[in-house]
Symmetry: C2
Subunit: 258 residues, 2 copies
């Protein structure tokens, strides 16, 4: 006679708007007994019923949150861990798997664990701008909280040399004020000042803004921690929209236009 097998779903809300959240995630939220996550994202995932327990924590406490989720699920509960965007891209899925990997508790390993994908912030931003990630691209976090700055510099240098379009997560914060400026200098060694740059802030959320600029004109002051930065490759181009803004896209081809 055992307890019901618990469930842990690591979900991605998408950028924020309900119309960009996949139905599988909506169904999982409805079925949850417990919802864990950074407060901003848990609030985005609501409204919830009175019988659902919300566990809101600070953004930095990812491993603690992951372990707490397994403790609850191991009791037979249905647990959801919330990320914005896609949970597998600089979000909770990796932390949840790391917590499970470190654990020798058979009850944790018996939990029905599923990762449910979502529309990532980079792809939501790209869609608003046009198709800047329409050809080979690289997705990087500029945060050196969990990795040495030296590997970030190395990756930036090689990815820029490779002429990949670049999407930057965590481009800047109060505690990391200088990193973005250095990153842009590294990119500028390999790209012209006219390279298109997309700045998407709060894309898919109320008050979203989209700005198209160039590598030569971009300064770190134009970016904050809620901004997704996309830097084009050598083939990325722009042209005016009817409303005065600009479309940005990276063609499907490289070299000779077909």
């Amino acid at each position: 006679i055992g307890r019901a097998r618990g469930r842990l779903a690591v979900i991605g809300l998408g950028p924020g708007a309900a119309e960009l959240m996949v139905p599988a995630v909506k169904a999982e939220l409805a079925r949850a007994n417990d919802v864990l996550g950074y407060e901003t994202y848990v609030r985005m995932a609501g409204p919830f019923r009175a019988d659902q327990v919300l566990h809101c924590t600070d953004n930095r406490e990812e491993m603690q949150r992951a372990r707490h989720a397994f403790e609850l699920a191991a009791q037979g509960r249905s647990v959801v861990v919330v990320s914005s965007g896609d949970p597998g891209v600089f979000a909770m899925a990796a932390a949840v798997l790391e917590a499970l990997h470190e654990s020798a508790d058979p009850q944790w390993h018996n939990v029905d664990l599923e990762i449910l994908p979502g529309v990532s912030a980079s792809l939501a931003t790209a869609a608003q701008a046009g198709a800047p990630l329409g050809h080979d691209f690289c997705v990087m976090s500029l945060s050196d909280n969990l990795k040495p700055w030296s590997i970030i510099e190395k990756r930036l240098d090689l990815a820029s040399q490779a002429d990949l379009a670049l999407a930057f997560y965590n481009p800047i914060s109060r505690s990391r004020p200088w990193q973005l400026g250095v990153a842009l200098e590294i990119v500028a060694r390999h790209r012209t000042p006219r390279t298109p740059v997309v700045l998407g802030r709060d894309i898919g959320r109320p008050g979203q803004t989209l700005r198209v600029t160039t590598l030569g004109e971009l300064t770190p002051e134009q970016v904050d921690m809620r901004t997704m930065v996309i830097v084009g490759s050598s083939t990325t181009c722009t042209f005016p929209r009817a409303d005065g803004r600009e479309w940005v896209y990276t063609p499907r081809w490289y070299g000779d236009k077909p």
Copy 2:
């Protein structure tokens, strides 16, 4: 007295399952007069009403399809161009923008154009495997139909040196039999044979299969054109699931474990 302003939406179905298609895309399909796309994807997007016109074409005719979409939308119709996954990742958004960029027709430029994102094949595959793209990663197409093989080799070499996890679209086809083998040799210069590799075939569709192997054991015969190939970085690791399969994840940190 003018015609109604036409609309053109470039949509991503996600990997295939209805529960992974965002509501904005479902609403757009319901509103469409005309639906254009590769036949397989148009069929995935259905069922349609009798009054909706389907325009199914071969996968190679992307520019022609894009122009056709503008011709229809310029007549005031509501037009949808269908991609699987996300339309901005090796799919129709870049072709549609290129067609518009090339056109001087003010009616085309007056069309209400919108790109609606979806869950990309790479992120859907990653979610099934765990979180192999949980840290910095690179997304590349291995097809040399629209780019010289030399730039693919260069990008593979630099991205591998940068220790980025790698997601390969279009890894192999009957007309491109040798490219994947060469690509894997390039990656193997910079990664150990024990590097985890994920092979996701038809993920999110009936008959999906997921296989976890290693760079040393992977051969091109295990891959076909419907397979998404994800190669881990030096930090990507695996551990057994309760059901005998394996989880794969790339930790949030790099270097010293926090």
